[in-house]
Amino acid sequence: MSITLTINGEEHEVEAAPDTPLLWVLRDHLGLTGTKYGCGVAQCGACTVHVDGVPRRACVAPVGSVAGKAVVTIEGVSGPEADAVREAWTELAVPQCGYCQSGQIMSAVALLKSRPSPSDDDIDRGMAGNICRCATYVRIRRAIKQAAGEGER
């Protein structure tokens, strides 16, 4: 079945069953491999994208459910929060292997959009859905604060 998707502002026609997870449509059909697979059951956050501005786990989002909505992936996320996050991530060398970081960045951007100056608690709550096995949490926390304009010390 043909589905029209708007991804990073561009329209795409894809042939896929509507219950196919968006994740695999992004990765396999469209070659947008920045969005990662980590668990497939909404536990790790590696696949996080934004749908109409709201963070969404692409591994459990049927592609049919996002037709007609604005999907933004790590390749396309932009704006002041995204810029600040990318800059802080780079400056503080947050990523190690980087595999979880697309998802971390998408969650951090969403967090900052609704909490421009997040507290430690806000960071715990907003980022609890993203696993990093390299355990870069110390730096993620620091970088979110820096991106919020509250660099430590």
């Binding site: 459990v60 997040p118 715990d124 709550r125 980022m127």
Partner: protein, 236 residues
């Protein structure tokens, strides 16, 4: 059966002209008992009205205290999942019951179930004042009739809500791997209506204080989740 109260709030706001002050009518055509929930008819021979009312509420309690209902009326700010384990990942109610900034419920819970992840367009958590995790049936009974703690509903609004709310309906229609609440929503609605018609009496407090579990702390390392989980069950 979870998360019905806030929705009722919404209904009140938009259509409360119908919320009559009349006494609830007794149920005329009792549905048969099903799936672990008894029929209104099964209580007809309890002569004493108050005792009948209490018995009806105790039957409703099978639904109210079922994990499909309690999991989203947690005493702390973190919902439970599956058979009543703390939700993994650690998610919270947030300001409007829809989760935390950066991690709203809708990140994972879509408009409909996706395999093991439950979905509903209204998916969210009951407000803190409507928590009844760990409370006695007597306490819950008092609480749901108290507009201060039920989202400002009068009895009719409460009953309509139990009978017909779409998110309440989730309780009987979860993803396959989760046990549905007993009975059906229609049957539950009848029990509630009959309970109201018989005076909406509450069971007595059980002897000995029943305390809810301690408030779940936010930053604990050890949310007791992942424990006692059946290997076949996926994340709710």
């Amino acid at each position: 059966m979870s998360r019905w109260l806030p929705c009722a709030l919404l209904m009140l706001a938009i259509g409360c002209d119908d919320c009559g002050e009349d006494e609830p009518e007794p149920v005329a055509d009792p549905l048969p008992g099903t799936a672990g929930l008894r029929s209104v008819a099964d209580f007809a021979d309890i002569a004493d009205e108050e005792a009948r009312s209490v018995a009806l509420f105790e039957e409703m309690g099978k639904v109210l205290t079922h994990p499909r209902c309690v999991n989203c009326h947690p005493i702390g700010e973190r919902p439970l999942q599956r058979a009543g384990e703390p939700h993994q990942p650690h998610v919270v109610r947030g300001e409007d019951g829809h989760g935390a900034p950066g991690l709203p419920c809708a990140s994972c819970h879509g408009e409909s179930h996706f395999r093991t992840v439950p979905g509903n367009p209204e998916w969210h958590l009951a407000p803190a004042e409507m928590a009844w995790e760990g409370k006695s049936l007597a306490a819950i009974c008092g609480q749901i009739q108290d507009p201060e703690r039920n989202g400002g509903k009068d009895m009719e609004a409460l009953l309509e809500h139990m009978e017909s709310d779409a998110l309440v309906a989730y309780g009987w229609d979860p993803p396959e791997h989760l046990e549905p609440a007993p009975g059906s929503q229609a049957l539950f609605g009848q029990l509630a209506r009959q309970w109201a018609a018989t005076g909406a009496h509450c069971p007595p407090e059980p002897t000995g204080d029943v305390e809810g579990p301690a408030e779940a702390s936010e930053d604990e390392v050890s949310p007791e989740a992942g424990e006692a989980s059946a290997p076949t069950e996926k994340a709710e």
